[in-house]
Amino acid sequence: MDLLLGIGRFLLATMLLLLLTVPTAFVVIQMELKVIAQMQLRYGPNRIGPWGMFQSTIHGFKFLAKEDHMPDQADRATFTLAPWMVYMAAAMSMLVMPFAPGAIAADFNIGIVYFFAVIGLSVVGLLIAGWASYNKYSLLGGLRSAAQMVSYEIPLTLSVVGVVVLGGTLNFRELIGWQQAHGWMLLWQPVGLGIFYIASLAEINRTPFDMVEADSELVAGPFTEYSGMRFGFFFFAEYVALFIMSGIMAALFFGGWLAPWPFPAQLDGFGGTLYGLFWFFLKSYLFVFLAVWLRATLPRVRVDQLMGMAWKVLLPLAMLNLLVTAGVVVWLNL
């Protein structure tokens, strides 16, 4: 009975999360369209729906209506599989997202490890997308994405190891509990936060590190040969990943669902879940906004600058941060 209940609960949760990714992508894309427009002194989309609210939704449905083209020489199996891999990497990592107390789909003890393992899968999807397309731009884009994401995963993970060492847990719920007791991780790990933010932008291919797409050099990177809903999946995955990275940053460094100082940090019962959801989404979307803001401001870095940044700056800094954190933890017996 318990097992059946567990399976049912799991299916419900995964279904809800999978369904959640679509409106999330719509909201994030709409934010991107509108915010960047405002920052470029334009109105942005303002035709479809009130204040142009449904522009991104229409974009999404437009993808469904488009012809699904596949190059003659493409490898059919992998070409079809690649969008799914990228999308599922993003959607599956939402399984451990701590939305609110009592609203974690799978609250298991190695949530952080699981998260970084699964989000790293998207690089495989991009790589096989580039290879299967039978297009040199795609292949170059895929190789670049592999190089970039593998490089940035190291400082990204190392910066989180500092957090884990300090919090003494790999479980998101317990980590947030630790933050409630000791103050947000932001105060303890400012260097880790900086490294994590930069590396996470690179990990999800956001400007200024969107080398994978690099329109001016690689047409559209691994997505060049994709059209219709297959491209739509890549596109959605990118924006869902942006939301997920923002959410994870909120959970790791900004107390997750905890409310900031003047408000009560947590409430009990179902109201507490809604309260937590509110703060979690507020924080997540603030970081989404920050990423969009950065995109409106910064140009793309060069590919050698990108790799140099990962290996020469972020990696040593992350190592040092980890060393100091571990040393202090041992020394003070935290």
Binding site: V35, L41, L294, T297
Partner: protein, 281 residues
Amino acid sequence: MRIPGLGILKGMRQTGRNFWAPKVTNQYPESRPTMPDRWRGRLDLIYDPFGEHKCEVCFQCAQVCPVEAIDMSGFDSQGNRVRYGMQEIYDERKDPNAYRRAGLPAEPMRNAGRWEDEIDGSWLRVVIDGFGGRAEALVAIFSAVQERYGYLPERALRLISDTMTIHWAQVFGAAGLGGFRLLPAEGHLVTVCTCAACSFAGGESLLAALTDELGIRVGETTDDGAWSLETSDQVAAGAIAPAVRIDTMVYGPLTAEQARHLLAERRKRQARAAARAGRVS
């Protein structure tokens, strides 16, 4: 001292400001700017289905333009340089019309001194009065002027425009029709009509005969400056095709032989006139 990341913050401050800044884009179909009453939109040349300008440089638009803003010269639909385009000089924009447009007292003939040509103004006024100052007589007046000066001096045209109160564009445009010259030229202008009617009736053999007789090609002048040859499709003599115009006089229909004869006659008469002039002086 360089602080890493400061430039990024500066850039983000700029974009952040822009985010809140009011947007000034005109939402066109919904909100339209109010135009002045006399607004007529943008002047544009229309193209025919073959991609050519429909404009034939006929000056009709210039004639109806209420503020006399149009002034032109160019190539007509047959590819001929349209000769009523005097070289436009920027200063010409300051002509009396421009003053009138600006609501300032007009100073007629402001630029008169720029041209060497002196004309007999009182004589011209007598001519104009002789025709009763009617606009229909414009071509006849031009003929009289060209008879006397050999071409239509700009000062004369300006005087006609001012005296008869006809738009400058209209006077200038009319001067472009049929055989009038706008620049002083030695000798006589022979114009062979190349309109469809004349071409079918043998205009080309006529042109060949005249080219042969004068020893020059189209657009050239003989070495002694007595004869110039050109072609036009505006001799406007369909009933007597093929036609040739010598100065303002139109002859036709002509065969090649008759054309040679005509030219010889004109040369003989000229020689006699020159000899007489020599004796008198």
